[in-house]
Symmetry: C2
Subunit: 333 residues, 2 copies
């Protein structure tokens, strides 16, 4: 198994990326193809005592940043480490690709370099998120702001395959994000998608309200990329606002500081349970090869998690299962 | 000032509704017209020592429930306490209407009995929500699942008037809920709305991400009713999930129970600060008279808050200001 890894993606590249890669080689026996400035990779590895055993390097002079137009990965930044990795993936020089770089550029590159699975209308970005029960997959969480019902049906089909194959959750359920649980709720997108999902043969449990998502209402939450992104960030923002307020409470006086010391170990457990990054990364689903987006501020542990998830993505044949199972959308541009 | 109050709206009607009304008469000197089953109102008031001084009753034999189709307020349930109140508001027998009953029925009734302000495409439901700074208005939070850009422009105009007039926030800013802060972010609805808001003369501060909303990113957050409802419920669900987990942590052992006792008073302060119901209610904006939706599980204090807000809605002439300021939408059905 050989995973291609963008050595210059994310806020902590290349050091943390290299550290994560080293763990994946040592722990999982993976072979890694790094893309990026070879000289800098070798220098950083040497300076930090990181062994490059089990890794090869494909030199790429450029880096695409969060501030670059996503589309520039196809032209102005076509020599960046991310584009190089995607081209090598498409050429069969590796089994999967992992990057912690710009989400927009990765989606653009995955769609136009690795290319869509035939019949898939739009690739989607899935996000594994923590709930009070098991983690669930939110799809789409930002790749497609404007969606049609058939796209949401495909997101459900792909999300279900991802959960059953890559996460081994054979009983994974599908819920449609909506503003009420009754069948007639929502706008035209939700009404039409509900009808499609009902007829799909998928384990569709109906509409799910945003308020029930954090408690684990369904294993795959299906929605358009605009709403999915709002949901994701609303939950993030609320957790961060509450944690910030709790910190202030614990700092009020000596008594509350003492209280903080007493609950601190438990709070850490909760914080870690709510940390989505530990699931490794967000899969780009609907393209011809496994592509995983790791969190932009990924450290070595998160990069390792993403590489591990990418390997499972490959081993379980989820891309072939999607290819076989998906209802082709009407042809379009 | 005379406020019409649905005595049979919400989970705690009529007892808590009557208690809230009594407070409004005694504290604010309001005159109240109660709608609902007169005999039951008089019996509950007598049994609980509630004075009906300053109140009149308009008998209405029926009650519309959360499970009834919203549209039934116009036909099958046209004799319910909510419909009776809205008809009397339209007829000029009161200055504003307050109900804790079904949101859908209230929106339907407000639109077709009280009627839209001329030029307003769709009335919207605003929700006053707590942030780390001052409360902000989320509009639309559920009245219109499918929206066009001109509707969002009107929501912004109406929301701005509501905040400056009713809440006295003369420096209120407008933010467009989006999945990134850059101007080119979002789907076609956001792109076109951004352009309209930029040209509107409103204090538009640009796109706001859901993650920054709880911290108080703008005073009016404009979005379609589908996304607004998802945002609202995602924040609610996340707070409730976290609070539930914190409770479990505090119950772990003797030490954590002791810690809980030390921070409890501060936690209560935070909980109260995050309790949206204390702002009284959600205004229905865009109809010819002030209409306020109080929370379904409103107690006497919340009903009083809603009556107080309704009185301010009347006194500040916000409806006339909306009538004067709004850009008429293209005529439609």
């Amino acid at each position: 198994m050989r995973i291609i890894l963008d050595a210059f993606g994310g806020d902590n590249a290349p050091l943390e990326v290299l550290r994560g890669a080293q763990t994946a080689v040592e722990k999982d026996g993976l072979s890694i193809l790094l893309t990026g400035r070879e000289e800098e990779i070798r220098r950083v590895a040497a300076e930090n005592g990181i062994s490059l055993d089990g890794m090869e390097i494909a030199d790429a002079p450029d880096v695409i940043s969060m501030n670059d137009e996503p589309r520039s990965i196809l032209k102005a930044h076509k020599d960046c480490s991310m584009a190089e990795g995607l081209r090598r993936l498409a050429a069969g020089e590796g089994d999967a690709f992992v990057s912690a770089g710009s989400t927009g550029a990765l989606l653009m590159g995955a769609t136009f370099i690795v290319k869509r699975i035939k019949g898939i209308s739009r690739p989607a970005l899935g996000s594994l998120l923590p709930s009070d029960k098991a983690p669930y997959l939110l799809v789409d969480c930002g790749a497609n702001a404007d969606c049609r019902p058939e796209m949401l049906l495909q997101f459900a089909q792909m999300g279900h395959i991802y959960m059953t194959h890559v996460l081994g959750r054979s009983d994974a359920t599908i819920g449609l994000l909506n503003i009420g649980t009754e069948e007639h709720k929502g706008g035209s997108l939700q009404l039409e998608t509900f009808a499609l999902l009902k007829e799909s043969g998928l384990p569709f449990i109906g509409n799910v309200e945003a308020r029930d998502v954090p408690a684990g209402a369904a294993d795959v939450i299906v929605t358009d990329g605009f709403t999915g992104n709002v949901l994701l960030k609303a939950m993030e923002g609320t957790v961060s606002m509450l944690m910030h307020n709790l910190k202030a409470i614990f700092k009020t006086n000596l008594l509350t500081k003492l209280a903080a010391a007493m609950v601190l170990p438990h709070m850490k457990g909760l914080k870690s349970r709510l940390d989505a990054s530990k699931y490794g990364g967000a899969p780009v689903i609907g393209v011809q090869k496994p592509v995983i987006k790791a969190h932009g501020n990924a450290d070595a542990a998160v990069i390792y998690g993403a590489l591990h998830q990418a390997a499972t993505f490959v081993e379980t044949g989820a891309v072939d299962a999607i290819r076989a199972a998906v209802t082709p959308a009407k042809e379009e541009e």
